[in-house]
């Protein structure tokens, strides 16, 4: 979507956003026995067959890849919940529904590595894709409302991956508006050529109230 011309504006790579998402907690059901793990990022376990326990995504993925557990998909990843979200998402053109901050990455990781653990996986996948599309459409139409004197944009419930994707464009658009709106830009031409400026600057004032 957004342009990539300025590398400084896209601060996080998508791999880094995924890295952050891998610390989100998920419930697993191990099929092995293992003593508790005392890790730098926290203590997890003990692991006993058929007894559910919570671990970070990366740990769940590691165990899953080795066939040591099944994953319980989070509650929001059910057909019922997602259908509700999609409907609400469509019904409220100006708001984003509350979803986990890393919903894109979590669902992606689960689709890639634990699809057999997700009931109705095809349905769930297409629902999430629809939700993403609707949300992106909203972000795009939200961009149209950016104008001079926009000092703040509220994006409650926008998720991490969505933030990362729209960041370069958003920041550049806001910066451009800010720059052209700053008093320096407006007053500078005053000294040099007066007449042609006056006509130009008339309508500018209308933009002020916000």
């Amino acid at each position: 979507m957004a342009g990539q011309s300025d590398p400084h504006l896209s601060i996080f790579s998508s791999a880094e956003v995924e890295f952050l998402a891998e610390d989100e907690m998920v419930e697993i059901v191990p099929n092995i026995s293992m003593d508790p793990l005392n890790l730098l990022c926290g203590n997890f376990g003990p692991f006993r067959p058929q007894i559910a326990t919570e671990v970070p995504m990366w740990l769940a993925m590691a165990l899953k890849k080795r066939g040591k557990c099944t994953i319980r998909p989070p509650e929001w990843m059910s057909v019922g919940k997602l259908t509700q979200v999609l409907e609400a998402e469509r019904d409220s053109p100006r708001e984003f529904q509350p979803l986990p901050f890393h919903y894109v990455e979590i669902s992606r990781l689960l689709f890639d590595h634990a699809r057999e653990d997700i009931p109705d996986v095809y349905m769930v996948r297409s629902l999430i894709e629809d939700i993403r599309d609707v949300r992106f459409h909203k972000v795009e139409s939200g961009l149209e409302t950016i104008a001079a004197r926009t000092h703040a944009v509220k994006l409650k419930n926008l998720s991490a991956m969505e933030v990362n994707i729209v960041r370069p464009f958003f920041v550049r658009a806001l910066q451009a508006f800010y720059k052209h709106d700053s008093p320096q830009m407006i007053h500078q031409p005053d000294t040099s050529s007066r007449r042609p400026q006056v006509a130009d600057r008339g309508p500018r004032r209308d933009l002020r109230p916000r």
């Binding site: 601060i11 996080f12 890295f19 952050l20 891998e22 610390d23 293992m34 793990l37 005392n38 890790l39 730098l40 990022c41 926290g42 203590n43 990366w58 740990l59 590691a62 080795r66 040591k68 000092h151 703040a152 944009v153 509220k154 994006l155 409650k156 419930n157 926008l158 991490a160 933030v163 960041r167 958003f170 920041v171 806001l174 910066q175 800010y178 720059k179 916000r210």
Partner: protein, 221 residues
Amino acid sequence: MASGSEEGLGLGSEEFDPISAKTDVELLKRAWRNEKASPEILQFQEALVQRAREQTQLSEGTVEEYAEDGTDPLRVSLYQMDLDRTQFLLRSYLRIRLQKIERYMIHISKTELWNRLSKQERKFATSCTDNLGKHLNQSVLSRLPYGYQDILKQSISSEEDDMVPEPQLDTFVFCKSKGSVGSFQLDDVGDEIVDLIADDLYVLRYKSIKALVETGQIDLV
């Protein structure tokens, strides 16, 4: 052993998060994120980095020990993964800071930003500035006409140092408030007021929330 930090231990000025006591890894992640997303260099998290170093060293020892005494390879690899993740955070955090220093070294050394650097970073900045100065003098500046030879000024008639790159504080950042910050004024001149409530996500000008980032009331995302 290599567990998360005991809460309440070694609480420096940098982390005061009474609502949710966090592990050092989480604090490091936050510092990394903020550092990555903010245009200027932030306060070096000395105590935190020190603790993270000690913990990764401990964990390295554990992994080695396990690898030797024939512990379940799965366990060893999980410990290794955990260690790798933390080390990535630590290295990436230090690297972003170095990148910022390289980009803005002269500006940093002239302002109060200097106090935000660690001892090693200051050393790096000083030698970097020296090298850059020497290089530019030898390759370009010494061959320019008199009056245009200053590394900090465009020409002798410049009143201030106008050849020093500075971080752009006017830029916009994405941020999330942790708790309710309440309303605060966005601009020094404007009448624009924003009411930040918990978990809200905003795109704001960095300058206007700078203080809130520095005190840890707001996180950049």
